[in-house]
């Protein structure tokens, strides 16, 4: 793999700017049977909570034009099991882990960080203050700048590892939340999480998702994500991991132009389980077309203000 694609972010020394997005890749086991996970720039593992969670009732996914709604409800085996079973499995791969941290209370977030902190392959934490699918916590921390800042400082106190905060698009001013968590000490930002949506079954006249509402992802949200990366880039120099509907190398370039430093690929892993490595393969050709030698040349230079 060429140096052309390398990207260095706090805690994440990436061979390329591509990582699978949290929640779309489990803890990597299944995809490791399809390809070598060391090819990835990083891996954002599934949102982890203090104790194991069984998640919401099914159906948990529903398709929509060029997108999908999900309401998994943070099903995961809990921080201890992730530390003892999942992270050791990932150690065989030469790839930094971005550990996604979720919870219902500030104490739970801190507990997860404390539990995962010693894992040597966790390069950084991604604080999920934007999960739309759980009743308490999650998104409530992501829609109020003060709460977002409070949670960020608590987590910063609990770890020396870099902390990325994953922002919700379900706000009127995402830049204000970005500024608030930056002041609270965040080392980077991930955006966007899913947009809250609904679909109904015309036959039964009921919502398709058992949880009624879910998070919209996929190409349908890409323009929203690009706009938000762009808006946030105007107010901060923090590293940004951009995501929302990426399914090709061209999409990656678009996010870099908008202001992202690296990207995460989510829904596309379901459409095509080889999406991440195919995008990585295609990226050099796109750099050639732009007469760009290194990915880093695109970072923060694409947009002329």
């Amino acid at each position: 793999m060429s140096e052309r694609l390398a990207v260095n972010l706090p805690g994440l020394s990436m061979k390329n700017p591509i990582m699978p997005a949290s929640g779309c890749f489990g803890f990597g086991r299944e995809f490791s049977e399809l390809y070598d996970l060391s090819l990835l720039g990083a891996i954002a593992i599934k949102g982890t909570t203090g104790e194991q969670r069984f998640g919401n009732n099914t159906p948990r996914v529903a398709e929509s034009p060029s997108g999908m709604l999900n309401s998994i409800g943070l099903q995961n085996p809990g921080a201890k099991s992730v530390r003892d079973n999942e992270l050791p499995f990932l150690e065989q791969f030469d790839v930094p882990i971005l550990a996604n941290v979720s919870g219902s209370s500030p104490e739970e977030y801190v507990k997860v960080v404390n539990t995962l902190n010693e894992a040597s392959n966790v390069g950084a934490f991604e604080v999920n203050i934007s999960c739309p699918n759980v009743k308490t916590g999650g998104i409530q921390f992501g829609t109020d700048p003060e709460q977002a800042a409070m949670l960020t400082s608590l987590i910063k106190e609990a770890t020396n590892k870099p902390v990325y905060v994953k922002l919700s698009p379900n706000v009127t001013d995402i830049a204000a939340i970005a500024k608030a968590v930056e002041h609270a000490g965040a080392n980077g930002l991930s955006l966007i999480n899913t947009l809250i949506g609904m679909r109904f079954d015309w036959r039964t006249k009921k919502p398709i998702l058992a949880n009624e509402k879910g998070g919209l992802s996929g190409p349908a949200v890409k323009p929203v994500a690009l706009r938000m990366v762009y808006d946030v880039r105007q107010v901060t120099d923090l590293p940004i991991i951009g995501m929302g509907g990426i399914e090709s190398a061209k999409d990656v370039i678009e996010f870099l132009i908008a202001g992202a430093d690296a990207v995460a690929v989510g829904t596309a892993n379901f459409t095509n389980p080889f999406a991440c490595i195919e995008i990585i393969d295609e990226l050099p050709t796109w750099l050639d077309q732009l007469n760009v030698n290194q990915v880093s040349e695109l970072q923060r230079r694409g947009v002329v203000l």
């Binding site: 489990g26 049977e33 399809l34 099914t58 996914v61 060029s66 999908m68 998994i72």
Partner: protein, 258 residues
């Protein structure tokens, strides 16, 4: 498990809103377990989720597999427009556990119960049992005559008996597969079943205690490979869950909460 293009040989309506699709390609060589499924990419960029469709039969000599699917929404509607010589991106075969057709011995008997679009995997199971000379009978339930398919195909496999039930009595006998199950003179050692969740629940309840019941579950799926946690089902004791795509889709009925 691979993701490869398979060539469409045939895609025809065989009953009301029910299509039979024959695909050919090397991947067919890996399809050997009844109850497993293919995760098919809908050939349109509007659709980001693949559709899980169970395998109805395989012909290793011709290198083809047959799928039967019901047109229930926009994705399967798009699939009906696929023509011979088109290619479909197929991930599979998926499923960690199919119908264990190697389990019964020739002195035991299996009852296969299929409801509507749950019939296709029962046909694959029937072929497998037939090859092993395991005696089996078949009970198929449909809403109405226009929806009936594969009756003759099952008969050709030398099933002991093929009973067709329709909700409205327009074909076969009026009633449900449960009525037919309860009319059996002697309970079989095994029941294999696939269909709506309510039907599976009723089959489980109606089965004799010494009958081992295997159910094939259906659910909206995301990745199909066990990573996304979309298609889970609670275990019967409600202390855990199983992933339908990788732990199933076939489970012994006392493993899962139906």
């Amino acid at each position: 498990m691979k993701s490869v293009p398979l060539k469409v040989v045939r895609n025809q309506e065989i009953a009301e809103e029910t299509y039979e699709m024959i695909l050919s390609g090397e991947l067919v060589q890996e399809m050997n377990r009844p109850g497993t499924f293919l995760h098919i990419k809908i050939p349109s960029s509007h659709h980001v989720l693949r559709r899980p469709i169970s395998i109805a039969s395989v012909n290793q000599e011709l290198g083809t597999c047959t799928l039967v699917y019901k047109c229930t929404g926009e994705g399967t509607r798009a699939l009906t427009n696929v023509r011979p010589n088109d290619c479909l991106q197929v991930l599979g075969p998926l499923g960690g556990q199919g119908f264990p057709t190697e389990e019964p011995s020739t002195d035991q008997e299996v009852t296969l119960i299929g409801g509507g679009v749950g019939v296709p995997p029962m046909y694959f199971a029937a072929r497998s049992l037939s090859e092993r000379n395991i005696p089996f009978r078949v009970i198929l339930g449909f809403q109405t005559e226009a929806a009936v398919f594969y009756e003759e195909a099952f008969k050709q496999l030398q099933a002991m008996d093929v009973t067709i039930m329709t909700d409205d009595g327009s074909y076969g006998e009026k009633g449900t597969v449960i009525d037919a199950l309860q009319n059996l003179e002697q309970p079989s050692t095994y029941i294999y079943t696939c269909g709506p969740r309510g039907m599976l629940k009723a089959v489980k309840a109606a089965a004799q205690h010494d009958t081992t019941v295997y159910v094939s579950l259906e659910e909206h799926m995301g990745c199909g490979i066990g990573a996304c946690f979309a298609c889970v089902c609670k275990t019967e004791d409600e202390t855990s869950y199983v992933k339908i795509c990788t732990d199933g889709p076939v489970f012994q009925s006392n493993e899962v909460l139906l």
